[in-house]
């Protein structure tokens, strides 16, 4: 360790530029990619999504060999009724993906609070909001790119199996293309939603619990409640839940009163997300860091 008087460094003119959004974004990107946990989470998300698609495709291929499916799965009325297509298989890992990106997006904010990094961050960017928007861009773009790549790999990898099962993904079918793009959109939006929850709650455990409860526990409870009662309000609450509404954009979109149309459902999730982000932004500016 040095004990010499602080000679140079302090005297020389140091080039210091204005804080711009682009620069804040670069800083957030450095923070994002320099944590091993982040890099691993992203990599594992992609691997698991591809793996689950392959597993489902293999199961479908085995199922297709049964005599009832001799005309190919895409012709089967039972499977048609539940809206099963090749995209269902390719996007099969989206729930796991939602869990992974939800936790990751929550942590990129809450870990700053738990470690105290946030005070360095806000000392450098005291206006604060550019930090939130930069984190949003980083997590949403990363999620979109990683999910898109995972789906592309899953598409290619499952193609031989799905072809044999007679359940090929049909990219000329607008609904199937929408479901694939919807998977990317859904997960990117879940990331934004979780980022807002993390910003509002600040504590890792509480924020992760909240995100998991909203996207996994509450829908599970309501899927049971809706079956158990005839009360109309339960149907409405159920279809307006962030996950139930948002997931519609990944579905085949079979028409049913119990669920929203795909884009309407996605718009509901996007609406919640925007509201949460606005509230998060307002509180971020006001609260003590």
């Amino acid at each position: 360790m040095t004990t010499t008087a602080p000679a140079r460094g302090a005297t020389q003119a140091v080039a210091v530029q204005r804080v711009t959004f682009g620069r804040v974004l670069r800083g957030e990107w450095i923070k994002f990619r320099t944590l091993r946990s982040t890099v691993w989470t992203v990599a594992i998300t992609a691997v698991v999504m591809v793996g689950l698609a392959l597993m489902m495709a293999a199961i479908m291929q085995v199922a297709a060999d049964t005599p009832e499916m001799s005309e190919g799965m895409s012709q089967d009325p039972g499977l048609q009724a539940i809206g099963l297509t090749g995209t269902t298989i390719v996007t099969f890992g989206y729930s796991f993906g939602a869990l992974a990106v939800g936790v990751l997006a929550t942590l990129i904010v809450t870990s700053e609070y738990s470690t105290g990094t946030v005070r360095s961050t806000f000392a450098a960017v005291p206006r604060r909001l550019p930090v939130l928007w930069a984190k949003l861009v980083v997590i949403v773009l990363t999620t979109a790119v990683v999910v898109a790549v995972a789906l592309a790999i899953a598409y290619v990898a499952t193609a031989p199996l799905l072809d044999r099962a007679g359940l090929s993904v049909d990219l000329s079918d607008a609904e199937q293309v929408r479901a694939l793009a919807g998977c990317v959109l859904y997960l990117a939006t879940v990331a934004a939603f979780a980022l807002a929850v993390g910003t509002l709650m600040r504590h890792s455990a509480g924020a992760i619990f909240t995100v998991v409860a909203i996207f996994f526990v509450v829908p599970l409870i309501f899927s049971i409640v809706v079956q158990a009662t005839d009360a109309a309000w339960t149907d409405w609450v159920n279809k307006l839940l962030p996950s139930v509404a948002g997931e519609r954009v990944i579905s085949r979109g079979a028409e049913t009163d119990a669920l929203l149309d795909p884009w309407v459902g996605y718009a509901v999730l996007a609406g919640y997300t925007v509201v949460l982000l606005v509230v998060a932004a307002v509180t971020l500016r006001r609260r003590d860091a």
């Binding site: 460094g9 210091v16 804080v19 804040v24 670069r26 800083g27 470690t115 450098a124 860091a289």
Partner: protein, 315 residues
Amino acid sequence: MIEAHGLTKRYGPQLAVDDVTFTVRPGTVTGFLGPNGAGKSTTMRMIMGLDRPTAGDVTVNGRPYAQHARPLAEVGALLEAKAVHPGRTARQHLLALAATHGIAPTRVDEVVELTGLAAVARKRVGGFSLGMGQRLGIAVALLGDPRTLILDEPVNGLDPEGVLWVRNLARYLAAEGRTVFLSSHLMSEVALTADHVIVIGRGRILADMPVQQLVDGASRHVVRVRSPQAADLADALRREGGTVAPGDDGALEVTGVDAARVGELAAAGGVVLHELTPVASTLEEAYLELTADAVEYQAEALDDAAGPTPDGAPR
């Protein structure tokens, strides 16, 4: 230059900082002294815009901190040691902050070198000692070559070598014309480093003056006097309104009468003097006197909560 006007921060019913007004000037090291919990860190956080004042305002180099276009070039702050994600390396942490101001990586390497972190810059912060964390915090503070430095307890956790280094650094930066504002609960540290001192206790400014004046102005001025006619002298001094206490080795410790007057009284009374020494009270004593209330208050509060002994009492 830091200017605070009527700065107040209330946490629920507790007034952490109570209507403080002060100016920290460039070119000097200003110490910010007070027992733990006196409001030092809260004040510093308000200067940095991290905490929102309940009332009042504070500007740095003429503007609220958040309104500067290049904040890191205005103020470099060390607010707490190891406020860094343990999974990142020191260099990565600095690079991320540098990026927000377009500061070149060469400058990052420069501050790493300057703070003696070169050997560990590429290691993860999780394994850092408190001292290394402190050095990293100082590296962050220096990154933007700021005109004003705010250092909260900068010598905490540093080895003697490191303490000396921080002291020299603070003086050097002030000599360059920068504003250096450093807090400490240690008297001795401020006495050795600062030119000017602001003493805070229970959220209020108790003193704001040159360090020397704080020492000179301390009410406890003692004169040591030794005489074979101690009893006569003591009587004469008491008549003059002084307080006389027998010191060790037979000397008298006189308060309330200065050395010159003691000599005059001795001459007038024909008393022989063997020793006449004005004893300046130390900064430590001045500080103790100023913050006595604040410390007592803390001790009570902690006693009520059956907590540990307050470490707010200066050593």
